[in-house]
Each structure stands twice: as C-alpha cells, then as structure tokens.
C-alpha cells in the first residue's frame, strides 16, 4: 500500500508540474503584449513599464518560468492587477464556497443516486427500474442551467420559499444552508441519474458473480447479500467516477455561481476573464488544477484501499 501511495503521489507531483508548465506556455502564447493584455488599453506607458518590471516580463522567458514555478511552490500566486490584493487571499475567500457547493451537490446526488441504482439492479425490469431509468436519462439530458432557471422560477419567484442570490449571511449557518439548496439541487440533479445508471450496471455485473450465487446458496438474506457482498464491490468504479466528477465540479459549478450570483472559483474565473485580470485567472486555474489532482488522488487511494488488486495496476 505504501509503495502504491508513493508512486501515486509522485505521479501527482509530475502532473501538477506539467500543468504549471502548460499554463505558463498558454499564457505566453496569447497574441499581443502581455502587459497590454493584463492592464487593458487605458494604462499609461509608465504604469505598463512598472507592471512589466514587477511581473519580471522584461526578463528572458526561461527566467520568467523559473520565477513563476518558484513563486507557485512558495504559495505566491501573484497580485491582482486592479486591487493590488494577493491572488492567494482572493482565492482563499472564494474556494470554500465552491467546495461547499460541490460537496452538497454530489452529497445529495450520492444519497439518492446510489440507492436508486441498487433498487434498479435488485429488481431489474420492474416498474422501479423503468421509472428510475427514465428519470436518470431525463436528469442527465436536461442542461443544468435550465434546471437552475426552472428552480428559480418555481421555488424563488412563484413560491418564494428559497433565496436565489448569494451565499447567505456570514456566520448565519441557517441562511447559508437556505442559499445552498437551489444551486446544489441544480448542480447535483444530473449526477443523480448518472450515478444511478452507473451503480445499476455495476451491481448487475456483480450480482451475476459466482460468490454472490454461493452467498445465496448458503441461505443469506437478500439484504445481506446486496449490502454486505455486492454493493462494496459494485461501488468501486462509482468512487472513481465521483472523484473525477468532484474535481470537475470545482470549476464546473461556474454556471450555478453565475446564475445564483454565488461567490466561488468558477465565477471569479468568469468575472476576471471579462475584466482581463489575468493574474487572478492564472491563480484560479492553477488552484483548480491542483485540487483536481488532489481529489483524484484521494479517490484512487480510497479505491486501492477498498480493492487491494488495484495497487498492482499502477
């Protein structure tokens, strides 16, 4: 297990370093003068010169890359060109909101999707399976932004049950939970169907295995067979999927953050791209990449812990 962990960690570090290099190359491949791009058309030559010096843009490219990597490794993601605030500070304010939204969205999707998938597999071709199948495909097919707008029209405008703007008052947990419901619903709905289909397929495969037949032959109850012997094996690919999905949600919640005006990493990337505030965009993309790698790593570790056979596959 430790050897697997070490190899997996090493691979993650390599991926992050490659991502940093790719990000650096992409930023320097944008047509035009990076100073003009960063500061916009109104900046005076004096401001442009000061910015170029401050950001080491007057240095050779290789030197700039070393400084960039060095700063990132020290946790220095740069400075917001407009507010002069630390990009790291800005992102540390935004990141918790995105993580909370992603956890809440995937949380309710897991809580509903996995049981639905199990039920469909236990009683294949029953009315439960058919209804679940139709609902699953339906929720996967409907775009999340459409779900968001429907949810706002029904629950915020018609019924006035739930708030639609922002993340709630700081320090007021109840208010923050209320503000979380609609975006988490909108982001997570598609995942309910996705997880239900995934678990159903895995469960059907596992339920046909010899050891399950043996368990039944020994007279174990259906509940014990399903929950003790089938589900722990069937859920393994789902855990990998959840890990990848959670990583994707860290930047994929952008539509919910915009429609519900929630703070978050996706929204700050969107806003700062419009404002051409590239140091913040660069920092936010980098943080998203690192988190993606970390979450995928955690998912892989969990899977390898649950299924020792995986440890030899790296």
């Amino acid at each position: 297990m430790w050897w697997y962990l070490l190899k997996r960690l090493g691979l993650s570090v390599v991926i992050v370093l490659m991502a940093i290099a790719a990000l650096f190359v992409m930023l320097h491949s944008i047509p035009g003068d990076p100073v003009s791009i960063a500061l916009g058309p109104r900046a005076t030559p004096e401001i442009q010169a000061a910015y170029a010096e401050k950001m080491h843009l007057d240095q050779p490219l290789a030197f700039q890359f070393l400084i960039f990597v060095g700063n990132v490794l020290q946790g220095d993601l740069g400075t917001d060109v407009f507010s002069n605030r630390s990009v790291g500070l800005t992102l540390s304010e935004q990141l918790p909101y995105t993580i909370i939204l992603a956890v809440a969205a995937l949380g309710w999707a897991i809580a509903l999707g996995i049981p639905l998938g199990c039920l469909s597999a236990i009683w294949p071709n029953s009315w439960i399976d058919r209804v679940t199948g139709v609902l699953s495909v339906g929720t996967i097919a409907v775009p999340s932004f459409l779900v968001s707008i429907w949810a706002i029209l029904i629950f915020a405008i018609s019924l006035r049950w739930l708030p639609v703007l922002g993340a709630g008052d700081e320090g007021d947990v109840i208010d923050q939970l209320r503000h979380l419901i609609l975006p988490a619903f909108a982001v997570g709905l598609g995942w309910v169907g996705y997880l239900a289909r995934m678990v159903r397929a895995s469960m059907l495969e596992v339920m046909g295995e010899n050891y399950i037949r043996s368990a039944r032959a020994f007279g174990l109850t259906s509940r014990m067979v399903v929950f003790r012997y089938a589900l722990p094996v069937a859920v393994l690919p789902t855990i990998t999927l959840i890990g990848v999905g959670f990583g994707g949600l860290l930047s994929g919640t952008v539509f919910a953050e915009i429609i519900f005006s929630r703070p978050g990493i996706g929204r700050i990337i969107y806003d700062m791209v419009l404002a051409r505030n590239f140091p913040v965009v660069q920092g936010a993309v980098l943080v998203t990449i690192v988190l993606y790698v970390v979450v995928t790593l955690i998912a892989d570790i969990i899977v390898s812990w649950l299924d020792p056979r995986v440890r030899d596959s790296l």
Binding site: P41, P163, L231, S261, I302, W305, L306
Partner: protein
C-alpha cells in the same frame, strides 16, 4: 496512545450517513425581501478602481463614490431637465462668469481615518491631479483652483467651457479626494480609498458585494435608506429573476427584459428609463482597399434597415440613431442624411463597378448585437455584399482597432460599435478628432473643419450655436461614408414601485437619493 482504525465496511457506512446528512441539510425557508431600512441593488460587474482618475466605466464606481466621497455638485432635476445641483457638501457653488466658479464647503465634514476636515485645499489637489489622469479629457478647460480660505475657493477655467458643471464637476470625475491621505497612499489607489467622507462607509467583498453602512461621523443630511447592499450579479437575466424573486429592490435590465416587462410588469414593480446616452453605429474602415470607393460605403449606408434592427434586436425599445449625439442633448439630429433604400444602394454598387464583395463584420458577442449583425448580413446580401460575422469577446474587441495593439486594424472592414456618452455633446465628439485616429477613431478619417468645430464647441456657450456646431460635425462624419447610425440603447432599471429611484443622466444609480414614496 489511542489508535484510530477504520475498516472498509465502516468507511462505506460512514460515507452513507454523511451523504444522508448532506441531504437533510435541505429544508424549506420562508419568503423574504429587502428590509425596510435597507436598499438592495444590483451591480452588474466588479469594480476595478474607485479612483476618479483611473476608474473604468461609470457604473458601478460612480454609484459608490457618490455615497462615500465629497463632490461640489451632483445631478438633479432643474426645470424638468437633468442638470447639476449643489451637493450636500457645499454651502454654495456659483458660476460667476464663463471661466470662474466659486464654491464654499460646509464646515465640519470629516475625512475617515483621522484625516481631519474636508478643505478647499483638497478640492484644489483633486482637480489639479485630474489633469494628469486617464480622465484628463473632462478637465480640458481646467486651469487651476484658487484657494481663498480653508473652506472656499475659485475654480478658474482656461477658456469658456459650457459643459464643465455637468460633464466634469457633477460627474464621476468631479469627486474630491483627501490630499494628505491620497499622497500618503502614493497619489493613487484602486478599490480602497485611503479616506472617505459621506453619509455611508463602505465594506467591499470581492466579487460578492459592496455594503454601505451609516457613517457615524457624517454631519450632513441623512439619506432615506440607512443601509445599502449592492450585490454583484453579472448576468442580466439572473438580475431580473432576482428582482422578481423579491431579493433586489432595483436592477439594471437589458433591452430584452425591458420589452418583456413593458408587456407585463411584475406586481409592485416600476420601470425607469434613466437615459439613452449610448450611441451605436456600424463603423466602416475607409482606408481598407475594399471600401476605399465612397460609393461602396454610401451603398452600405443605404442598405441597412434600422427599423428592422430596432424591432428585431431590441424589441422596439431602442431609439433609432441619426448620429453620435444622444436624445435630450444639444446637437441631436432629427434625421440622417440618407435613408433605407436598397435599390439606391444596389445602383451605387453597380456604379462603382464592384461585384462579389466579401466583408467581415466584427461585433461583441452579446445577443442583441449578434441579432443586429445578422440583420445587417441579410440587408447587405440584398445589394450583393456577402458578410461574414465575427463575434468577439470584450478583450480582443476593444483592442482590434487600436494601432498600439497590433495590425488587426488593417484587416477590419465593418464593425458594430457602441459608446456611452456624458450629458454634453462635447464628450461624444472627442473620440473622433484627428489625434484619435488609430486610438478610438477606427474609421480612420480626419477633417480640418471637424477639428475647427470641435474647438468652437468647447468654448461656445450659446445653445443655439452649439446645436448648429454639433449637427454639422455629425454631418461631416456621415459624409465620410464611415458610419451607419444604428440605435440609442436606453439604460433601463426595474425597481420597487414604492421607491422613488434617482439616476444620473449617464445611467448610474444615485443611491443616496433613493427614498421610499
């Protein structure tokens, strides 16, 4: 030492419980709306800077500055017209003659952070500083401020400048800074003013909100709303939905939403058109070899059906444009020198001997402008011109015609452009003088007569003569064949109908003047 152990089965059980707990976090709330003493408004974007010398775009920096910073004049209504009025910070402001303005500040107005009283020295410092700033165009006629005593002084202009009060002192560039605090901050700041003085103090959380709360040191008249919450809602439709959900008291809306609400206004809501100080046109690069024949450019002018654009792209809510001077301003034209006549356009194309012409039309990728571009594409096809639409995001769009940003300007054929204007015709004309060729004059023409009229317009105080000057300037622009006038988009707000909402003619909210009816 306690050893923490976890079995695989235990992990799965814990995960299931955690998932269920996450689900039970959802519970129904109750209806809510803005508190009685709190005004909640929409800001459509984050602020890059609040510094009056370096801000970008009037909204939202001006909305905030007018609540937390002093000024000699604000916008108000005079004889039913939007015009400057003395601000709550002054005992008096008086235009003595065409080049002298006397002012006396109220006593006892204190800067925050212990910087003492607002003084005439601060006024002089602020305006002197503006002549070196990115907004120095507003101070083209400013000479100096003579300080008489601690609270009073005289602003001296270097020439008569009719729009000085409205365009400069009452606008966002007329904000007064604390000299000592600004100098200590290095002479410039972004979104954290080193000292403020106003009825409110500001709390800003990036990309989330600006909260304005009562300033305990404020000795002037108190605003009707003790608190103002300004929420950043970048998406316009999301802003409209939030208003309908009762979470905003006032929100700026798009032409599409305006058309929808004109048909059916939500209960308890009112619509206010704050002004139409936007002018949109289709620019034509007269230096482009494909468009160098003026007959081709005039053919294009005659082939574009403005009524279809107004109806199709703006649902009839925008006003057709006949130049760059906006409705309600001196110099506004009543008609263009050409009209929609595709037959005449085709005849001009044939006369020029042009056939199979392919042009590009660049536009910002907003829904209204893309629709306008598609209508133009169909219009120009009628006279044998094939148009390829190139949608762009704001970054490359605003740089494409600037010589300092690359060579794209050489390849430009047609583009849809929109500028915002101040409450005086001078401001709109300043972007088309000779110095602006390759900066903002992307049509790349110049005219000695235009330059002469531009200087005359600055100094002329007779309104009838100014009208003639600015009408003629627009005629000159039109005669180049470089412009197809499109629309004046209105700045529209939806707000609670029990609120008396106040707006500057340039479309910003004057939140300190909002009051319950």
């Amino acid at each position: 030492m306690t050893k923490i152990t976890q079995t695989r089965r235990g992990f799965l059980q814990t995960a299931a419980i955690a998932g269920a707990a996450g689900l039970t976090g959802a519970f129904p709330g109750i209806a809510w709306s803005a508190d009685g003493d709190t005004l909640t408004v929409r800001f459509d974007r984050e602020m890059e800077s609040l510094d009056p010398g370096y801000y970008v775009g009037g909204h939202p920096p001006n909305d905030v500055n007018w609540c937390i910073m002093p000024a000699l004049a604000h916008f108000g209504m005079v004889d039913g017209q939007a015009s400057w009025v003395p601000s709550p910070y002054v005992e008096s402001v008086e235009v003595v003659d065409s080049t002298h303005i006397e002012f006396t500040l109220k006593q006892g107005l204190m800067w925050s952070n212990g910087y003492g009283e607002v003084t005439a020295e601060d006024v002089a410092y602020s305006y002197d500083r503006m002549t070196e700033s990115e907004w120095k165009g507003d101070y083209v006629a400013y000479e100096r401020t003579e300080v008489k005593d601690k609270y009073s002084g005289t602003i001296v202009l270097n020439q008569p400048f009719a729009p000085f009060m409205n365009l400069t002192l009452a606008s966002g560039t007329g904000i007064i800074l604390c000299k000592k605090a600004t100098e200590e901050a290095g002479g410039k700041y972004t979104i954290e003013p080193p000292a403020t003085c106003g009825p409110y103090v500001m709390e800003h959380k990036q990309a989330q909100y600006v909260r304005l709360r009562p300033n305990p040191d404020w000795t002037g008249p108190l605003p009707a709303f003790a608190n103002i919450d300004c929420i950043f809602v970048t998406d316009s439709e999301a802003g409209a939905l939030a208003f309908e959900a009762g979470e905003l008291d006032c929100a700026k809306i798009t032409s599409t939403s305006y058309a929808r609400y004109l048909k059916e206004t939500p209960p308890g809501a009112a619509l206010t058109v704050a002004g139409a100080l936007q002018y949109m046109w289709m620019g034509i690069n007269i230096e482009n070899p494909k468009l160098s024949d003026i007959r081709v450019r005039k053919a294009i002018q005659r082939a574009v059906d403005i009524d279809s654009i107004v109806q199709g792209a703006y649902s009839g809510t925008a006003e057709p444009s006949y130049g760059i001077i906006c409705p309600g301003l001196v110099g506004k034209r009543d008609a263009a020198g050409y009209s929609y006549d595709p037959a005449e356009g085709k005849a001009l194309i044939d006369e020029a001997g042009v056939s199979g012409l392919n042009l590009t039309l660049r536009t910002l990728n907003s829904p209204e402008r893309l629709l306008a571009a598609q209508i133009i594409q169909v219009n120009l096809a009628q006279i044998g011109i094939t148009v390829e639409i190139i949608p762009l995001d704001s970054g490359p769009f605003w740089e494409m015609g600037q010589e300092s940003k690359g060579d794209t300007y050489k390849d430009m054929d047609l583009w849809i452009m929109r500028f915002g204007a101040g409450p005086d015709p001078y401001e709109a004309t300043q972007w088309f003088i000779r110095d602006q060729v390759g900066v903002w004059n992307w049509e790349r023409w110049s005219s000695d007569e235009f330059e002469e009229l531009y200087n005359q317009g600055i100094g002329e105080t007779d309104q009838a003569k100014r009208h003639e000057i600015y009408v003629r300037m627009q005629e000159i622009m039109e005669e180049t064949g470089g412009y197809v006038w499109l629309t004046h988009e209105p700045e529209v707000f939806i707000h609670r109908d029990d609120i008396d909402a106040k707006f500057a003619p340039s479309g910003e909210m004057q939140m300190a003047y909002f009051a319950p009816k």
